[in-house]
């Protein structure tokens, strides 16, 4: 490792170029995918749709033009996005804590797993749309209800992945702990939990994506208080405000991608360090 890398400021051109190439290799495919989507978008707008029907998919530059420069549209939209981000992150945090806790309890004995796992499966298999009206009646139509929907959607991958991870330690490693007369807590914190970490991060990545969906579904149905993006989607649809509708969709997509990327990067960083790949 050169001195330049250590203080993060390259002193010659080659370091900077290498870094640029590395960044390009990471961002390149994503940019290509975005370009592909934009190309198809314009193709549909100008080639597939006749001028009378073009309002169904207004061209991208028009969507951006009428929304980005207009504070009357953008301000409420960003407020709504902030609200949705808040719901998604709170829901995710709760789902992570509950999911890991539930899995830890299940991992304590085959008996506990047999009794508790069916509830997780039931939670996963009930369509969330069948539950939402009930949640509204019980919890009201505000922030709390939105978070509950978000938690229900994001919970299962946390439970399932954590449990799988806790059970992934090899029998010989368990024998080693048994021979050393390890306590239950030592076994959990020094063997099962560390062994589960990669799976927990897989669960976290999936739960992060689902928490965005959960937050939007939640504020689509529960409209009390500050509207979230889901609420705006509904309003724009009713008013047939196509430019704003597309802008809102673009924002939610960006949010979803950002959530996924952050957790994927976190996953790589932590797991890399964990197994000693990214040694300092």
């Amino acid at each position: 490792m050169s001195a330049a890398d250590l203080n993060g400021r390259p002193q010659n051109g080659t370091g900077a170029r290498r870094r640029l190439v590395a960044a390009g290799a990471k961002v390149g495919p994503l940019l290509a995918a975005v370009a592909g989507i934009v190309a198809v978008w314009y193709l549909v707008t100008y080639v597939v749709l006749s001028p009378e029907r073009r309002f169904l998919l207004p061209p991208l530059h028009q969507v951006l033009g009428t929304t980005l420069g207009n504070p009357n549209v953008m301000a409420p939209m960003l407020d709504a996005l902030g609200q949705t981000v808040g719901v998604a992150l709170s829901g995710l945090a709760i789902a992570v804590a509950l999911g890991i806790g539930y899995a830890v309890v299940m991992a304590q004995s085959g008996w506990a797993e047999k009794v508790l796992y069916p509830y997780a499966v039931i939670l996963q298999t009930i369509p969330i749309l069948a539950l939402t009206p009930l949640i509204g009646i019980w919890m009201g139509y505000g922030f709390g209800a939105r978070i509950v929907v978000c938690v229900i959607i994001a919970l299962f991958p946390m439970i399932a992945n954590t449990l799988f991870g806790l059970q992934s330690a090899r029998p010989a490693a368990h024998d080693l702990f048994t021979l050393s007369r390890a306590t239950r807590a030592q076994r959990l914190f020094k063997l099962q939990f560390p062994a589960a970490l990669p799976s927990i991060f897989t669960g976290l990545r999936n739960a992060a994506g689902l928490s965005v969906i959960g937050a939007i579904v939640g504020d689509f149905f529960f409209q009390q208080g500050l509207p979230g993006v889901g609420g705006l989607l509904r309003i724009y649809t009713l008013r047939l405000n196509m430019d704003a509708l597309f802008m809102a969709i673009i924002l939610t997509a960006l949010f979803g991608v950002a959530m996924f990327s952050v957790f994927a990067a976190l996953d790589r960083a932590v797991i890399g360090r964990w197994y000693g790949r990214g040694t300092p």
Partner: protein, 243 residues
């Protein structure tokens, strides 16, 4: 000489109906290194699991006169998220030894198996032979009176395997624990041991108990001596008759 491990007429039948061991009697005294050879599936691993207390006999009895027993598994069985040093430290950590103390002992054990300088490496960054050295260091760090080995070198290439054998017998000469060593290799058994026990095919029974005369440490060239060849021939013959 105290008998560190005594198996008296031990039988092990699993609930599935498989009889793995039948009336096995065997003892290992302090300062003895006993190898067990036998056909695959004859109950060698089962024997070690019984000796270590991981599993229980269904007949006969086991006596262990050791304050500390260690176990080296067929695979290195290291915790992948821990560095070599912290893997060796694990046993002391689980027993609540003070940190400075257990770290010093772990460092000494790593030095002993020739891994000075690799303390901070994680298992994925080590070769198969080095991982097995870490595993042996972890077993020796507890200063065991009884050390059990379940085919520890089975997965290593021939060159590494020979080097590990040389190292293990010099460690034995140094530490003088009572050793019980499972292997498939007759020459490995003869080179390492004070005695070679030959088992029959399942259900495993002891069919020969052959003493090995040479003192420790043993030079690698011992393997090319005619007496060595004669002894491996004797063990192989006992194996061949009963498998």
């Amino acid at each position: 000489m105290t008998r560190t491990l005594v198996l008296d007429d031990v039988t092990k039948a699993f609930p599935t109906g498989t009889v793995a061991l039948e009336r096995v009697s065997l003892s290992v005294a302090a300062g003895e290194f006993v190898s067990v050879v036998g056909p695959s599936g004859c109950g060698k691993s089962t024997l070690l699991r019984l000796a270590s207390g991981l599993d229980e006999v269904t007949g006969g009895g086991i006596e262990v006169n050791a304050t500390s027993t260690s176990y080296v598994f067929q695979e290195a069985t290291l915790l992948e998220w821990r560095s070599a040093l912290r893997n060796v430290e694990l046993v002391g950590e689980l027993r609540g030894a003070p940190k400075a103390d257990r770290r010093r002992r772990a460092q000494e054990a790593l030095d002993l198996v020739g891994l000075s300088g690799f303390e901070k490496q994680h298992p994925r960054q080590l070769s198969g032979g080095m991982r097995m050295r870490v595993s042996i260091a972890r077993a020796l760090v507890a200063e065991p009176d009884l050390a059990l080995f379940d085919e520890p070198f089975g997965a290593l290439d021939e060159i590494t395997r020979l080097r590990m054998q040389t190292e293990l017998q010099s460690l034995f000469a140094l530490k003088n624990f009572a050793g019980l060593f499972i292997t498939h290799s007759v020459s490995e058994a003869v080179y390492l041991s004070t005695r070679v026990v030959v088992m029959s095919g399942r259900p495993g029974r002891v069919v020969a108990d052959i003493p090995v005369p040479w003192s420790y440490p043993r030079p690698p060239e011992l393997r090319y001596e005619p007496e060595f060849a004669a002894l491996t021939g004797e063990v192989s013959a006992a194996l061949g008759e009963h498998s």
